[in-house]
């Protein structure tokens, strides 16, 4: 919505090629979980910038507030108390859209132009084209989009595409007080993650690493994890996220078959009409009814 049509790299339910004259670079947000203090300033900044106000919730006995993503809460901190090496650790993961290079939501979406992927890697929902079917939720390997009860449309993090389009960083990055969230060119972010991972290795986290899952072609929101060998410690972060095979079957294999069947039936009907002519009521039948 905020970027120009020239910057669209992929569009849902569209077969015409995307414009490719302009060469840009891919951006990424790097979330260093080892630096996060769980202050939720990113949640506040997200609501402020995007003019969202979620309902005041209840205390469920955990720090997560709200308990889950909603159409009004596009990012939530997920707090996990774990003891991976017999030592208590409080892991706090900022959950939200990962902006996959191969987005399952876009693949599953049947509404033309409701989901677009920009040249810089941001996956964005255009709610004016959304038909509210919720297939994006099925397609998402991270379970991120949420349907709004108010208008029946799907919402999720936009990586502040409106801010990024005018050269600003996303709101959560701007506000993060510890510098746990950084933003820049994806190559630069991978480089700075590598420096941080080396640092964590020196500090006793032998399995620290970058979370940029290849199962979805890499993501444009990446995590630095202290325990990259066990991503499930971080509130069930998927180890190897994949787009649901049913989505691939439905959108890949079944779609051309359905189109072929539809075309065959139409052609058969036309052929029957030409060779046999239209259905006519015979004189005998007409008499019977009289």
């Amino acid at each position: 919505m905020a970027l120009q049509p020239l910057d669209i790299a992929a569009r849902s339910a569209t077969t015409t090629p995307s414009p490719s004259a302009r060469q840009g670079f891919e951006v990424a947000k790097l979330i260093d979980i080892s630096k996060c203090i769980g202050c939720k300033a990113c949640q506040v900044a997200c609501m402020e910038w995007n003019d969202l106000r979620d309902e005041v919730g209840f205390n469920h006995g955990v720090y997560d507030n709200p308990l889950d993503l909603t159409d009004q809460s596009w990012t939530v901190m997920r707090f996990s108390e774990v003891e991976p090496d017999g030592r208590l650790e409080w892991l706090i993961r900022k959950d939200g859209c990962m902006h996959c290079a191969d987005p399952g939501c876009l693949k599953a979406c049947p509404a033309p132009g409701a989901i677009v992927k920009y040249g810089n890697g941001i996956v964005d929902f255009n709610q004016e084209n959304c038909i509210g079917c919720g297939y994006c939720i099925t397609g998402c390997p991270f379970n991120i989009p949420r349907l709004a009860a108010k208008d029946g449309k799907a919402y999720k993090c936009t990586l502040c595409s409106d801010r990024v389009a005018v050269g600003l960083e996303p709101a959560c990055v701007k506000t993060c007080p510890t510098g746990a969230i950084t933003y820049g060119a994806k190559d630069d972010m991978i480089e700075s993650a590598a420096i941080r991972v080396r640092d964590l290795n020196d500090r006793g986290f032998a399995n620290a690493g970058l979370y940029d899952p290849p199962g979805v072609g890499g993501t444009h929101v990446m995590y630095v994890l202290q325990h990259a060998d066990r991503p499930e410690l971080y509130a069930d972060l998927p180890r190897d996220p994949q787009i649901d095979p049913l989505v691939s079957v439905w959108k890949g294999l079944a779609k051309p078959l359905a189109i072929a069947a539809f075309a065959a039936v139409s052609l058969a009907g036309l052929f029957h009409y030409i060779t046999k002519g239209p259905n006519e009521v015979s004189k005998e039948t007409e008499k019977e009814f009289d």
Binding site: V56, F58, N59, H60, G61, V62, Y63, E81, E83, L88
Partner: protein, 90 residues
């Protein structure tokens, strides 16, 4: 005694009681004092009977009414309370 996070509990001191939702954590370890385990209860004070968020019992119900003359602030940083599980949500 407290089974799970989210249980409603009554926190009682000599001066009164409040009802609150329990956040059960391993981050505050049980203290061993003269061979007896003593648990630590932390209660935020940042709500009251009115406000934009949910209302709650006022923590000052529990606290001793004692001021620190040197710092000119309340003295009640730590005191003894008892905790009991409430069978139903209040």
């Amino acid at each position: 005694m407290i089974k799970a996070a989210g249980d409603h509990v009554r926190v009682r001191s000599k001066r009164g009681f409040i009802v609150a939702v329990a956040v059960v954590t391993k981050r505050l370890k049980t203290l061993m004092i003269e061979g007896r385990p003593v648990h630590t209860v932390g209660i935020p004070i940042h709500w009251g009977f009115k406000g934009v968020a949910r209302n709650g019992y006022i923590t000052n119900t529990l606290t001793p009414f004692v001021g620190d003359a040197n710092t000119q602030t309340p003295e009640f940083k730590a005191f003894l309370v008892d905790l009991e599980l409430l069978p139903t949500k209040v």
